[in-house]
Symmetry: C2
């Protein structure tokens, strides 16, 4: 008799975004004349950079000619892209990495989800709270989260990130095997300084823990002391895997490309304490369960690093960060307290006293026709907040703030 | 202390293709003037169809304009592609499926690998022997294969497919929970008739087993009584998941697109016997760990089903199948015994008496500068065979056979 993975039924349905969609649709049906502005889901609105478009056209041409067509790609990515990644994202920040340490994929969501394949189901897991739901859900699927009671998983170490601690999650008292850190953070938009991140690297070195560092939003950093990569911290190549994405950096949400860094110095252990290089295990996983990223997509990603590509992508990021500034300053002027939005495209807005995340969501929808994301959907410590994104168009962003001022 | 998944070290390195590459490189270095023809790895040589190229250019244009750009795709695929799939691949064969039963992905390798996520690690697994290595390796990673001694996994039920049984794997005596069937078969190129496949569906219905049916090569079927989909068999929607690929059908090995059918009627069970729809579990898995297939790629796949696309793709398949005929008839004329090559792009060649798979590989390389794949690399029952593929160019295919006749 075919049996299911019994961890799956423990998961609730992906409630957050479906509930938002339901509420928005209900409102639309009742008020078809109203123009709704979404600052909710973190999807981009600006088109691909012209340099990327040109590179894709060229690659499509190549695929249509027998002499230049490409079949199966190397599972971990073409050398042309891996070299561009290393040169631009790491060497220029003084980080030395080898091409064998880069694994190109169809996106950071796949990699943050699949990385658990190479790790024991018994490892303990710490996540910051609130958090991008994929870390928790994928560990629940693998059995690492334990059981769920009233929205809390029995084996998860939750690390609250709230105004009271300056959104700096505390270092756990006990030993934890896997720690998910996302900086700049989704959903709070907050960051860690080099010094603060160093505490985590030191903790991981001391406890032989693994840090899963999601740097999907590093391109949005504007301030000096904020690390773009965890490998800027000494010793991090021994304890950290880093996930990168072109989704927000270059508007690739519909193109699908990201990469994961698994340094060769990074070791994990079997139950006898014998060391294994996670790089070799991940390589085996990817070679077996993945067939490489499309050639056309890898050429698109390479173009992100061309001189024109860099300039064009910077313009789009600046455009989104100007949106962030407009939202943040607008909210401040209206008396709201908010966080993030300086080194990240997310603004974490405190709801007025006594109003819950969902109540504020309803208020923004019904009174101003603005869609945000209720903070509690990212975890218990997100209650009392909503997330707004800077990925809208300029006009919509300005109008949203104007509406809230009425 | 971070612990590894201890099933990983049980796997040997992906020996087969790296060993082939090593031998070929060694030969090339020693004989740089010799022209090597590869009939080894199953990669295509013909470019993308013009209809596909045109669709991709159009999609790239759209991605470069704010008014037409697409962000995150639905995780299970765009409706335009799912509808084209259902209309062309199923309705036309009298099979009724719903769009919610189709999951578009970056390829069948990912899906055949990832499907295990939703299934219990305690399920027993049967695989035909020889077999596409991904089924075995992914189950070994999940702990379903047990331990490996002398190349045999302790918990796997091997089903030999050899000339003695006409390459028809026997139905197991005991109950098996998961059964991998790949037809038309890789590597043997053989097929099952409707009647033969029905035995498996009946077995699965009786034992509440799950059939994982890999139909990646269905487009190469030329004979009437060979099923293109397992859903042509009555009751199959209750017991089978079907994997499809555009890789060989439309030369998408470097484009990356496939799809998986998980019928809503297909149930699996928890330990108490409670029923669960695998469709819902797979949807939850894909929504959590996958972010959809690139828009451009899905438009490319849609073009495969356009009138021009169909015609162009049929021409390429006919081209490869003419290669298959040339290889097969050429080998027959030279006194070799071979199988497959009629409904599949693979020819399974019996080595001369007393010569092993690897010895024959060496002979073909050293005497004729032809690269094939040693059958034993696909499993113990592949010993005494080599696999040749029809995916070469016409000139190379003809020359390979001429060389073998010298």
């Amino acid at each position: 008799m075919i049996q299911i993975n019994e961890n799956f039924p423990k998961l609730s349905d992906s409630y957050l975004f479906s509930e938002i969609a339901k509420k928005v649709n209900r409102y639309k049906e009742a008020n078809p004349e109203r123009n709704i502005i979404s600052l909710g889901i973190g999807d981009v609105t600006q088109p691909l950079a012209p340099a990327v478009v040109a590179a894709m056209h060229k690659a499509v041409e190549e695929m249509g000619e027998a002499s230049t067509m490409r079949g199966y790609a190397p599972e971990s990515g073409y050398l042309f892209l891996k070299e561009a990644i290393i040169r631009n994202d790491f060497h220029q920040r003084g980080i030395s990495l080898d091409v064998d340490e880069i694994f190109v994929s169809d996106g950071a969501k796949s990699d943050t989800g699949n990385i658990g394949d190479v790790l024991d189901a018994g490892n303990t897991v710490a996540i910051t709270d609130p958090v991008y739901p994929v870390y928790l859900d994928t560990n629940a699927m693998a059995g690492r989260a334990g059981d769920c009671h009233n929205g809390r998983w029995s084996r998860i170490e939750y690390l609250p990130a709230v105004p009271e601690n300056g959104f700096i999650p505390r270092i756990p008292d006990r030993k934890v095997d896997m720690i998910y850190l996302c900086y700049p953070n989704n959903p709070t938009g907050t960051t860690l300084t080099r010094e603060q991140l160093k505490h985590w690297v030191d903790y991981a070195l001391e406890n032989k823990s693994l840090i899963l560092f999601d740097a999907a939003y590093e391109a949005f950093i504007t301030q000096e002391d904020i690390p773009h990569s965890i490998y800027e911290i000494e010793g991090a190549t021994q304890v950290a895997i880093e996930f990168r994405s072109f989704s927000k950096t270059a508007g690739f949400t519909g193109v699908r490309c990201g990469y994961t860094v698994v340094p060769k110095a990074l070791k994990a252990f079997d139950k006898t304490g014998k060391e294994y290089a996670l790089n070799a295990l991940w390589n085996r996983r990817q070679s077996t369960k993945f067939n490489g990223t499309a050639y056309i997509v890898q050429r698109a990603a390479e173009a992100v690093y061309s001189p024109e590509g860099k300039k064009q992508i910077r313009q789009t990021i600046d455009y989104y960060m100007e949106n962030a500034r407009i939202i943040k300053e607008g909210l401040n002027a209206l008396g709201y307290t908010s966080y993030g939005g300086v080194n990240a495209p997310y603004i974490w807005v405190q709801t007025p006293a006594g109003i819950s995340s969902w109540e504020f969501f309803d208020k923004l929808l019904n009174e101003y026709q603005i869609v945000c994301t209720p903070g509690v959907g990212f975890g218990a410590s997100g209650e009392g907040f909503v997330r707004m994104t800077a990925f809208g168009t300029r006009d919509n962003t300005i109008e949203a703030i104007q509406r809230m001022g009425r």
